[in-house]
Amino acid sequence: MKELLLIAIGSAIVNNVVLSQFLGICPFLGVSKKTETAAGMGGAVVFVITIASFVTALIYKFILANEALLKMGIDLTYLQTIVFILVIAALVQFVEMFLKKSIPSLYQSLGVFLPLITTNCAVLGVALTNVTKEYNILESIVNGFATAVGFLIAIVIMAGLREKIEYNDIPKPFQGTAIVLITACLMSIAFMGFSGMI
């Protein structure tokens, strides 16, 4: 339990996925204009990354690094990048179809963001980190969920700040993306304060 809690705090706050690992920068900058859309995007990311880290951990344990195969001298772990990206792309399509058919209310709020997540590097990044850190299936799920919550926190704070910045008098060259990056820089400095926690 203690290890799981450490993993969760570590990936949600201390090593924040956006602000210290730079994964998922695209939606972080692109979809953070309004708090509502940012929260929707964050929710969809939590949903997808949690499922994706569960499925990729299963595939890694029982197919790619299958013990029976390893004993026979067949090591399929080199296929991990190819298999993970295809599985994630297919999984997102599948989740979208499933939600549309069976839980329309959830689809209404998250559905529009799902296709965007296929190519979010955070999803693949988490799946690969789970393998490199040799997490078991439960730890992988916790790590995936916590990483995605870290993304949610970062994107919602960013959207809130951007709504305020919009009415400020910013020097012309810094208008648009540049001021957003400066904001991200300051947020990143703030999150560095957590680094002593673990």
Binding site: L19, G125, L181, L186
Partner: protein
């Protein structure tokens, strides 16, 4: 101008992926803590980009249009796996410092973007030169940002101590490193200044009547030229969603 030379010029200067198009921002932020890392990341991306352009252009008539995205991804992912193993074998220290960002070349917008917008429509030789141009442009961008961060953050250039460090204990005057530049916030700060400088350049060029290519890709939230837009309908949909909410 010769078409191949034009492709090189286009990639390195006219449509430089880092400075002008602003593509592939995740690796740009993540691995530029030193010039060496930037150079290594840039060169490995170049290798993947050239080989991917070569293969995709060679198979462009065989791959059915409906499944082209998955096909491209499989080609790119196989190449990335190969590059990862080669780097593991020959440059273990570099491969350790780049870590998870090497396999993440798969989802780099530049690679699928060039596959979709150039290699899948053009013959093999120009596609190779397009890959070399874009790859070198990206390498140039990453190395330049890495240099700035390394000089300010550690006073070093490619690991060589350029500025003598101050030593307060012995009363030696010198450079005090601004460590924040080699840490995460420095990446955002340097990129922000770069974007601001490019905004000034852009305005000047426009006044001269020679406008630069518009930035595209994730940073601007403009997915149209990303290449992954076939699978990723994020921007248009997120906008229509917010429009719907507003109604």
């Amino acid at each position: 101008m010769n078409k191949n030379v034009e492709r090189l010029y286009n990639g390195i200067i006219k449509e430089n992926p880092t400075f002008v198009l602003m593509l592939g921002m995740c690796p740009t932020l993540a691995v530029t803590s030193s010039a060496m890392n930037g150079l290594g990341m840039g060169l490995s991306t170049t290798v993947v980009l050239v080989c991917a352009n070569l293969l995709i252009s060679a198979f462009r008539k065989v791959i059915p249009n409906g499944v082209r995205m998955p096909a491209f991804i499989v080609i790119v992912a196989s190449l990335v796996t190969m590059v990862q193993f080669i780097m593991n074998a020959y440059t273990p220290s570099l491969s350790e410092s780049l870590g998870v960002y090497i396999p993440l070349i798969v989802v780099n917008c530049i690679i699928l973007g060039r596959a979709e917008s150039y290699a899948s429509k053009n013959p093999v030789v120009p596609s190779i030169f397009d890959g070399i141009g874009m790859g070198l442009g990206f390498t140039f961008g990453l190395t330049a940002i890495g240099l700035i961060r390394e000089i300010l953050g550690a006073g070093q250039v490619f690991g060589f101590q350029l500025l003598p460090l101050a030593d307060k204990a012995n009363g030696v005057a010198g450079f005090t490193p601004i460590t924040i530049f080699v840490m995460a916030p420095g990446a955002f700060l340097v990129l922000a200044c770069l974007v601001a400088v490019m905004n000034i350049v852009r305005a000047k060029m426009e006044a001269k009547g020679k406008p630069l290519a518009a930035p595209s890709g994730c940073l601007t939230g403009d997915c149209a030229s990303c290449g992954q837009s076939a699978m990723c309908t994020g921007r248009s949909q997120s906008e229509s969603a917010s429009a719907k909410k507003a109604e």
